[in-house]
Symmetry: C2
Subunit: 492 residues, 2 copies
């Protein structure tokens, strides 16, 4: 059935919507909420149907399309599309099976991941998938299968020779080692094409932070050129069709701030596999308020990563690091990017903890290549950083990706002071993250907080613990209101 | 912040949507997918924000509202609304807790149910709630609390004196006893205000079936009048603001055809509580392909119903009935309504099984009132049916609710025949339900199937098992395609 397209000029952010006039819908026996197939040339997508009751929004014979559908199919206003029927995909049955506790086979997981990739599942169906996996858990086999399915349903970036990669499972605010490790490794002559994600539960992901300096949403072709030229990149993986199901799954994890283990493992390993990484270093911060809350959980995750790495033919080393408090001084995209640049510039005020952790990690990666002996890697990494080569490399990467307009720090500020004298005993990562997010991070790049006191520091009554930054008064007030109950610090 | 309303003339079916121009959204730091508060007079609702990028859909200073928002707040085009901010409701935290396996307290469940009732949770958040409860289960206390919360967040219909009610947990196609029991009980002089739901996983709910005869979506005031006049009603509960959270939960159960125990218990008991029922009869069909698949499950459910009934001060009797095959001949709204009317008319061709089950249930209800002795109830019920009083009462109820336009049987038909000679050993309720649903039931009232052979009947090779009816060729073909693999019959 042919319909002429009306550009509705409405964007939902993620949901694909098509609108028919009520009369056309009745003729076709379609109802609001139904799944329809929009075919245009060789492209096709599933969309959710809304209804126009009068002819004002959409007259008979026309189909109204939201921006997401127009963009996906590259449809212009006035074009004619062919509307098809489509039942509920078979993968919904497999999701139901998982909800009932069944273990899924590769073909079943592939169908689910493929349908997610191609927008054939609704947000509610995806949510059942995530919730079922989250509560019932995934077997190692299921995770390996899910990883493979994620890789196979997207594009792959092949690079010649030895390719390195790193990943941190997160949970520690300010932990932006990637942006220091990448330029060091590339300076040493190794290929390290880093695709990062945006924040899920944190106030900033590497993609959000890098975006303060350079463009991170780049087409695949451009990224290949950048990596060929500079040996590296720090881009947003979501823009590249690498394991595209992952971001679509994260969309429904976001509302509840959950980060399910199976999804986490598959997501990380798929991203590494698609960039043809041979050596992968994974950082699991351990701390009361990180994702791995105890040694047992951390070791379990380590084993899972190494097991899945081996099954996928990758050399994986997992390090368990100190996650007891934020790393660096800044929390929030812009503030964290300033910490990174201070380290790369060898600024004497640059945060020591961030610098040392980055050197350690770069060192391990260098040793994994086999070119350096044990304990030699960190020395080489330190030398590259000190010499200014890493800064030069970072500038080269920024230039290649496209320099970003300058962001400014949030103009609404609030100094947060200690209510007593003593020594900082604990800092709660989750509370710090929550406060930074309430202030607007990661969406508002200039929002977040700058930390003055770390664990072990002595503080006077009324002395500054950190400064809160927000781009908008409403959000600052919201964060300050929350702060009154919990600043995230224990002073002993 | 004030905005003038533009009626977008778009209906989603359930989701409340508001649209701002991109420039206004930026000013307010709002993004697509954000939750906003639309205030109009004393009314207010949460809506999900979409964005208009050019000024074509929604210019600056205006807010585009979808039909669901306009209807809910009774807003007319050109009115001015006040747009407010609203964060994520606290109940999302409790849903997250349940996902992590925590037992929820009354106040937490109340907050969740209240936010669901008032559309403050998104479909994704509601889905996590359902999935978490489904997999982790609910304690008896939680179910009682959820029931109370559902009652308290809606209206209540108080009737003077003894009030009866009945319910079947479903799973058996064609099991439309309600529409026979209600007129019998009302003829006996008792008040029995029946609020039914629409089909969740079945090809027809009582509300869908009754709707073939009379209007079932009626305002509360009208229902009170009808019950005062006729002693009964058979209406859709969803239209009455009785435990309104229930239907909003069912919306997200629907896509995966799940029917979670805790939700089931709370939903049923809340509906009974809100109509001030004193005596409640609950029917649990037991069969390989019903919801209660074995004696143990059925007994567990019975205990839960009786326990929760006792905690809520209701006299509850649970009967476990034969659920081995469909009841009556028709499956699908119109075909089932024809079975019901045949029984009420004392038609010699009326299905015996449906008639006998209805008489048995009406008998128990009559005995529960205390007016009749043990074994006397069924006799009285049979007499009322035979005398034509029940038919007269049903016609009175239909007239009071408003007679419905006549529906016609689907014109696309397919006789389904046995591929061998023998005796019907088993009929699969789930497969029969699935075939009827694929053919269009319950949405297409005239779709479904008419059964010619029941368990124990002998069949010849090529003899008719049932006839499939559909209102639309596409759906008939879909059902026939499925049929080829499984007709739902085992001939031995």
């Amino acid at each position: 059935m042919k319909f002429r397209v009306k550009d509705m000029d409405i964007a939902t952010g993620d949901i694909l919507v098509a609108i028919l006039n009520e009369k056309d819908a009745k003729k076709l026996d379609l109802h609001s909420g139904d799944r329809v197939l929009v075919n245009y040339g060789k492209k096709s997508t599933v969309a959710i149907l809304d209804i126009s009751e009068s002819k004002r929004a959409v007259p008979e014979g026309k189909i109204g399309l939201f921006e997401e559908v127009l963009d996906k199919l590259h449809i212009k206003k006035g074009a004619v599309i062919d509307l098809g029927f489509t039942g509920k995909p078979e993968s919904v049955k497999y999701i139901r099976d998982k909800l009932f506790g069944k273990t899924l086979a590769y073909t079943e997981l592939y169908r689910i991941i493929d349908d997610i990739t191609n927008d054939r599942l609704t947000a509610v169906e995806k949510t059942y998938f995530v919730a079922a996996g989250f509560i019932n858990g995934w077997s190692t086999e299921e995770v390996v299968d899910m990883t493979k399915a994620m890789v196979e349903t997207g594009g792959q970036l092949k690079f010649p020779g030895v390719t390195l990669d790193k990943h941190c499972i997160g949970g520690v605010p300010g932990n932006r080692t990637t942006m220091i490790v990448i330029p060091i490794i590339a300076s040493a002559g190794f290929t390290i094409p880093k695709t990062s994600s945006r924040a899920i539960t944190s106030p900033a992901g590497t993609a959000d932070t890098m975006e303060c300096l350079a463009r991170v949403e780049l087409p695949e072709k451009r990224i290949k050129e950048i990596v060929r030229k500079t040996k590296a990149c720090i881009v947003h993986g979501g823009s590249m069709n690498l394991a595209p199901a992952d971001d679509k799954i994260i969309e429904v994890e976001h509302p509840l701030s959950i980060d399910a283990e199976g999804q986490l493992l598959a997501s990380v390993m798929a991203k590494k596999y698609t960039v043809s990484a041979n050596h992968v270093l994974i950082d699991i911060p351990l701390g009361k308020t990180t994702k791995a809350k105890n040694k047992k959980d951390a070791n379990h995750l380590r084993k899972m990563f190494e097991l899945i790495g081996a099954k996928l033919g990758m050399n994986v080393i997992v390090i368990i690091t100190d996650g007891s408090q934020p790393i660096g001084n800044g929390v929030g995209p812009l503030l964290e990017s300033e910490d990174v640049m201070a380290v790369l510039r060898n600024d004497p005020l640059a945060p020591e903890d961030l610098k040392e952790k980055a050197i350690k990690m770069a060192g391990i990666l260098l040793e994994m290549t086999g070119r350096y002996r044990r304990r030699e890697g960190a020395k080489v990494a330190r030398e590259i950083l000190k010499s200014g080569q890493a800064l030069k490399k970072m500038q080269e990467i920024i230039k290649a990706q496209g320099r970003q307009k300058k962001f400014t720090l949030g103009e609404y500020r609030k100094p947060v002071k200690s209510g007593k004298k003593g020594r900082v005993k604990e800092i709660d990562n989750e509370i710090i993250a929550k406060i930074a997010r309430m202030a607007g991070a990661p969406h508002d790049k200039g929002s977040g907080l700058f930390i003055n006191k770390k664990i072990g520091d002595s503080v006077k009554n009324g002395e500054l613990l950190y400064t809160l930054y927000a781009e908008n008064k409403f959000k600052l007030d919201l964060a300050v209101e929350f702060l009154k109950k919990n600043k995230g610090y224990i002073i002993g």
